[in-house]
């Protein structure tokens, strides 16, 4: 050890070279990981951007991107985005009230444990089994449908189906609400009781406390959670597919039928459709970053 320090002191150029080398060497253990995510996450995603502008023979074209604006596909995107917004806000707002109720002091401990663990299960219970569960609940012979019909409210006679926008939104909420509860309840637990006490000692009404203390602290995590919920609903494929098959006009379903369908098989156009979705996600991320900065300023 001693001799090493001495050489370093004697020869600054060499010491800096050593330090540089050590810095480079540090990258070696993370290289496999970087290579892996490049191969199986980054490259495939970026590859789509190129494919969207190519014809089958490999020359460049804008045809696929133009086709995205055909009413049929534009509608698919619109429905997906609307579904994402409605269920993110619905799940987000109700999730925040549930999370508040279960984490606030005075709530028995078992309520919190039960809700947290059940939410963890429900948030993972998406896709095919969820679709079946909702068929059994709100399908034409589902228990809620039958129950309501007995009490004079015939949902299906009023035009409700599980395959409609409302039906899909209700189904999506089953994974959106628990996800919100899971993501946001740690932030509620982070709100210290002392802050509220301090506010009320200074004469603040609860509404003032929330406006000036509670909400500003929660806002960044709330926005992040909303983004997560939106992306979650936008990308859902298994749930709508198992509910309605390929009939329903959603962006994910359309992409799916472009790469697996027999009549509709058109992989280049699938690239363009996927690219369109990436653009939506990117816009949301940018919006989120902007809002995040705003909310940070509001905090100060």
């Amino acid at each position: 050890m001693v001799s090493v320090t001495q050489t370093r002191r004697d020869d600054p150029a060499r010491a800096s070279h050593d330090r540089h080398r050590a810095r480079t060497l540090r990258w070696i253990p993370v290289l496999p990981f970087l290579l892996y995510v490049t191969l199986f996450l980054l490259l495939p995603t970026l590859w789509l951007a190129g494919g969207a502008f190519k014809t089958n023979s490999g020359s460049y074209t804008l045809e696929h991107v133009r086709k995205l604006f055909d009413p049929q596909y534009l509608n698919a995107y619109l429905t997906s985005v609307k579904l994402g917004l409605v269920t993110a806000l619905g799940g987000g707002v109700s999730g925040i009230f549930v999370a508040y109720a279960m984490t606030r002091e005075g709530a028995p401990r078992w309520i919190r444990t039960t809700f947290t663990s059940f939410s963890a299960v429900a948030a993972h219970f998406a896709g095919v089994p969820l679709a079946f569960a909702f068929v059994a609940t709100l399908g034409s012979t589902g228990i809620v449908t039958v129950f309501l019909a007995h009490h004079g409210l015939n949902l299906y006679a009023r035009g409700f189906t599980l395959f409609s926008f409302a039906g899909l939104a209700l189904t999506y909420m089953y994974f959106q609400l628990p996800l919100m509860i899971l993501v946001i309840s740690p932030s509620f637990a982070g709100l210290r009781r002392e802050w509220r006490e301090a506010a009320s000692n200074l004469g603040a009404a609860p509404i003032h406390y929330w406006r000036w203390v509670g909400l500003p602290i929660l806002l960044p995590s709330f926005l992040a959670a909303l983004l997560l919920l939106f992306a979650n609903a936008l990308g859902a494929y298994a749930t709508p597919y198992a509910l309605a098959g390929a009939q329903i006009n959603l962006a994910t379903i359309v992409i799916g039928s472009q790469i697996s369908g027999e009549l509709t098989y058109d992989p280049q156009f699938a690239d363009a459709l996927a690219l369109g979705m990436m653009v939506i996600v990117a816009v949301c991320l940018a919006l989120y970053a902007l809002l995040q900065r705003r909310s940070a300023r509001w905090l100060r």
């Binding site: 089994p129 979650n232 494929y237 790469i259």
Partner: protein, 262 residues
């Protein structure tokens, strides 16, 4: 301080959530027990259990889960360990990469992988491609769980101690790192298994007969057995999540012990 009890408003929300989350389960349970003769019975479950495709698809999904877990652990344990030990500057980048699979829809990743590797037949033709892609889909959960587990342990001291008695890096990983984060690894494994057993999008578009693909097929043809499958799947999710919770408790207890020693 004002009331320490829940208000009507709070209770309403809790009841609403409980009702909303439990009713579909009740509906599914009832559906799965209907026999068509007006009485309840386990016919639907019997149909499922006696279907050879049920066993095959479940076994296939479990094998996929095993492969995914193996690749995930081999890739992530050394990486996360290194970040915690020597490479904190790398954390923002890996944090960012690890949330990407949450915002990039799985169907986009599916299309991308199919397109990028479509001429690499040996890779794309077998189930290995599915396991390799699942490692990415599981990344947000596996990375976070492992990282939380590793942060709680003072690996600088432990590694120095191991090195001073002449342990090599592989030996340190095997005998120091893994035993100390076994709870985190177990949580990560359970989360990955849950994800793999339930993943439909990729498996169906890449044309593999996994458990959810089989389930969807049953749903198109038989309603009551489909409900039974949904119940089985729910029970499975519930068990693994319970496992994660219990493992988490184990990890928490351990952390307190470490705090006591320090």
């Amino acid at each position: 301080m004002k009331s320490r009890r829940l208000s009507v408003w709070n209770i309403t929300w809790l009841l609403f959530a409980a009702l909303y989350l439990l009713t579909p389960l009740w509906g599914t349970a009832e559906f799965s027990l209907e026999t068509g003769t007006g009485r309840y019975g386990f016919d639907a479950y019997r149909t499922i259990v006696h279907d050879p495709a049920f066993r095959d698809s479940l076994l296939f999904s479990l094998k996929l889960a095993l492969a995914t877990v193996t690749v995930s652990a081999t890739l992530l344990v050394p990486t996360v360990f290194w970040i915690n030990l020597r490479f904190e500057e790398f954390r923002p980048l890996i944090d960012f990469i690890a949330v990407l699979p949450l915002v990039v829809p799985p169907i986009i990743l599916t299309v991308g992988i199919l397109r990028l590797f479509h001429s690499v037949i040996w890779l794309i033709s077998g189930p290995q491609i599915l396991a390799l892609a699942y490692v990415v889909l599981a990344l947000p959960f596996t990375y976070r769980t492992l990282d939380a587990g590793m942060r709680a342990v003072d690996f600088r001291t432990l590694t120095e101690a191991a090195q001073s008695v002449g342990a090599s890096w592989p030996l340190i990983l095997l005998r120091v790192v893994i035993p100390n984060v076994r709870f985190a690894i177990l949580s990560a494994i359970l989360l990955t298994v849950t994800l793999v057993i339930g993943e439909f999008t990729m498996a169906s578009l890449m044309l593999f007969n996994t458990f959810p693909v089989y389930m969807e097929y049953i749903g198109e043809t038989k309603a009551n057995p489909a409900a039974a499958l949904a119940m089985i799947s729910f029970a499975f999710t519930w068990l693994t999540m319970l496992g994660v919770l219990l493992v988490g408790h184990g990890a928490a207890r351990r952390q307190i012990q470490i705090g006591g020693i320090r």
